[in-house]
């Protein structure tokens, strides 16, 4: 008798622990299990069941209603970049999902971990041109690390676990999960949520090969003029400390890409500045003079390398990267060090000799001096009364003491901000690096504030970019997001104008942009603000902005035809960098 009864008991016990819930609820349970607290989104027809379920989860999941889905995804990017966590986005099918595409492309190229959940029409309507149906999976395939369409609620827990694992591990990236409306509504037996730790076809980290590390160390130890160039990989790998130990022990000068910025404090004695088209003079010129170039967590973007066949040809190249596809992609590597730099850097540090490279470091300082005379001093301390973007950033440094997160858009102001901003902490520079998405900064700064609530978030935007996503002032208003917005207004699409001046005989073709009264617009959203055009008012205006308890918009009227220098003209070698 006993033997017959026992299995029945077992069934009764397990039945108690299994609850029947809807696919929508399973989505929210998954988010809670993944420790998600903030969602950026916008509701619509095909995602309504999820929003309906969200109504009961308001106390556990904070949903930020944006004004446009592009705003939602850029906000999630800002959140991820400031916090190091995965950003979460909700959007509906059709236009809701297609509005995410720019942000997905941006997150893909800048390796930002995101999980985007889009609603989709009922499974039986797929492919029928149903209302608000688009083939989201195929549209987003090239711009996602992974995407998947769920048509059966039973799949939801395991697919979301996979989504979070893929988005955040290895080289991070955006993941999109498209869930049909029937799956959102469908009830199923929820057996709990297990986070994903392994997918057999997915290798987030390549195996670390000691022999390469040994070779790299040997090469570094005999180098006379070694030079480190680093990217966002340090920040993504949370290896800031390991990196600092490495350069401090080896005494090697280090320059950052725009994405690697703030991985070490900008005033670090071995930090020699920014690489790239508008980077610093020394790092660019000396790339073509060093004997060993150590690239860490960076991908040799064309804006960094300039003309490839004249890039670091004299140097042996060591490339540390987590993504095997990056090695030898643009620049042939002498020694590839595959792996997570959090693991590889300490191994390398152990093997390199303690050294200083005073003479070599002095070369960077000499170039720095030249750059200061021709570019930096005129930008930061101009002699005429026209305001420059540089002096705004310089004053901002003085007032924030390098403590703030600075979110930049794309264009001249971005280059100036990244050239002159001072940072004390990692994850302080948030910008659209790879894709160059105008309109990124305003929504990204909203996300950054939610990702780092205790920090001051200043968003620096041009008059062109701010008008691309200006509707997000509504989000700032509704959720009382304390972001400081500086609009650097030169009444031009400045970067394009600069190129037209330098390379197209000053034929200013459609770069003359008219702006609304930004202060009035902000006022319409109940956001305080002011506009300044005189130097004597600038510092006060900046402190007023920073001391204001809520969001604030400060418009600064800057010189109309100022240019950003130095500059490596497109198609030129990094040695051909122009100071004017």
């Amino acid at each position: 008798m006993n033997t017959v009864e026992e299995p029945e008991k077992k069934i009764a016990r397990s039945a108690k622990t299994i609850e029947s819930i809807s696919g929508s609820e399973a989505v929210l349970k998954a988010l809670i299990a993944e420790n998600v607290k903030t969602i950026f989104g916008y509701p619509g027809g095909a995602i309504m069941p999820i929003y309906d379920a969200l109504y009961d989860y308001k106390d556990r999941l904070h949903h930020i209603l944006v004004r446009h889905e592009q705003g939602a995804i850029h906000a999630a990017q800002g959140f991820a970049r400031a916090s190091g966590k995965t950003g979460v986005v909700f959007a509906t099918s059709g236009p809701g999902a297609t509005n995410l595409v720019t942000g997905l492309a941006d997150a893909m190229i800048d390796s930002t971990p995101l999980v985007c959940i889009t609603g989709q029409v009922f499974a039986h309507l797929l492919g029928t041109d149903a209302f608000q149906e688009t083939d989201v999976i195929n549209i987003t395939t090239p711009v996602t690390k992974w995407n998947y369409q769920v048509t059966d609620a039973i799949e939801i827990p395991s697919i979301l676990a996979k989504a979070f694992y893929i988005a955040g591990s290895g080289r991070p990236g955006p993941v999109l999960i498209d869930i049909t409306k029937n799956a959102q509504l469908q009830k199923f037996d929820f057996k709990g949520y297990t986070t994903c730790k392994h997918i057999r076809s997915y290798r987030p980290k390549p195996i670390v090969r000691k022999e390469y590390i040994e070779q790299a160390a040997q090469l570094i130890n005999v180098a006379q003029k070694p030079f480190v160039i680093f990217g966002q990989g340090i920040i993504l790998g949370k290896a800031e400390k390991e990196f600092k130990h490495f350069i401090e022990k080896s005494g090697i000068p280090a320059a950052w890409t725009i994405m690697g910025m703030s991985a070490i404090p900008t005033d670090h004695p071995l930090g020699v500045g920014m690489l790239g088209m508008h980077g610093n003079y020394g790092p660019n010129v000396l790339t073509n003079e060093c004997d060993v170039l150590i690239a860490i967590g960076m991908r040799f973007d064309d804006r960094v390398t300039g003309r490839l066949d004249k890039y670091a040809k004299q140097a042996k190249i060591i490339h540390l990267d987590i993504d095997p596809a990056e090695i030898d992609k643009n620049v042939k590597t002498t020694i590839p060090v595959w792996g997570d730099c959090k693991e590889t850097l300490p191994l390398l540090t152990e093997l390199v000799n303690k050294k200083t490279h005073m003479q070599w470091l002095q070369r960077f300082k000499d170039f720095q001096k030249q750059e200061e005379e021709t570019c930096i001093i005129p930008e930061l301390n101009p002699i005429n009364e026209v305001l420059t973007m540089g002096e705004v950033i310089n004053l901002l440094n003085e007032l924030t003491k390098g403590e703030a997160i600075i979110v930049t858009d794309v264009g001249q102001h971005q280059m100036v901000a990244c050239r002159y901003a001072k940072y004390n902490y990692s994850r302080s520079n948030i910008t659209s690096g790879g894709l160059g998405t105008m309109g990124f900064a305003l929504p990204a700064s909203i996300g950054a504030k939610f990702g780092a609530e205790k920090r001051t978030v200043v968003s620096v935007i041009g008059d062109g970019g701010v008008q691309m996503t200006i509707q997000e002032l509504g989000t700032i208003m509704q959720f009382n997001v304390d972001v400081k917005i500086i609009v650097l207004n030169n009444n031009f699409l400045g970067m394009v104008r600069q190129w037209q001046q330098l390379f197209h005989d000053k034929r200013y073709s459609f770069v003359d942009i008219t702006s609304p009264d930004f202060v009035m617009v902000a006022k319409g959203y109940h956001i305080e603000g002011q506009s300044v055009s005189k130097r004597e008012h600038l510092k006060n205006a900046l402190s007023t902005m920073l001391n204001h308890k809520e969001a604030y918009l400060l418009e600064v009227m800057v010189g109309k035809e100022n240019n950003v220098f130095p500059m490596v003209p497109q198609g030129c070698s990094v040695s051909e960098i122009r100071l004017k």
């Binding site: 997915y202 042996k316 596809a325």
Partner: protein, 196 residues
């Protein structure tokens, strides 16, 4: 580096949308796929793609890394023609009376190792397998005899040196990072590396 024919063998999960993910890696770079075949592999759950392109070794290596980067791809190999055994299958439809009447055709078929799959009053379908030149040779030979229809399959290939995927899969299934190494042309060329 000059272009030549490469056969790329990709072991993958069987997932909807993966074909597209792989295809766009080529189309994004404006590389034409000469032939693409998807099939099961020796392992139940593992799918196999065979892709033929004309490219330089450098480009093919980069493409394979981009393919392997896809979450649902287990492994991608690339090989030149002398490293693989490959076949393509072709079908030819010809009017039956032409064959019945003209002995020459029969001889042709023997010569090309073709076999009849269907024989009907009005038409006959022949099949050959072989390399591109062989299947193409038979078209040229059949053209004067009113070849009605022709179709050729994609290439299927087996890598000479391959030991199959069973052992590899075990590595992929274990949670530790696999022992799979990524090769670099400079490795083991220490002289080259340390010449300062």
């Amino acid at each position: 580096m000059s272009k030549q024919e490469y056969t790329i063998t990709v072991y993958t999960e069987n997932q909807i949308g993966l074909l597209n993910r792989i295809a766009i890696i080529f189309s994004r770079r404006k590389i034409n796929i000469e032939s693409l075949n998807t099939s099961p592999s020796e392992i139940d759950s593992v799918h196999r793609f065979t892709i033929v392109i004309n490219e330089t070794e450098d480009v093919v290596r980069k493409l394979c890394r981009q393919i392997e980067k896809q979450v649902e791809v287990l492994k991608a190999y690339f090989n030149t023609n002398d490293e693989i055994i490959w076949q393509e299958l072709a079908l030819y439809k010809v009017p039956t009376d032409e064959i019945a009447e003209k002995v020459k055709v029969e001889r042709l078929l023997r010569q090309f190792g073709a076999r009849a799959v269907v024989i009907r009053k009005d038409y006959t379908i022949f099949e050959t397998t072989g390399h591109r030149e062989e299947t193409e040779g038979l078209i040229k030979a059949l053209e004067p005899y009113s070849l009605i229809e022709f179709v050729r399959s994609a290439r299927v290939a087996i890598i000479n040196a391959s030991k199959g995927f069973h052992e590899k899969l075990k590595e992929f299934e274990s949670e530790e990072p696999g022992t799979d190494v990524i090769e670099n042309e400079f490795l083991n060329q220490q002289d080259e590396v340390f010449m300062m």
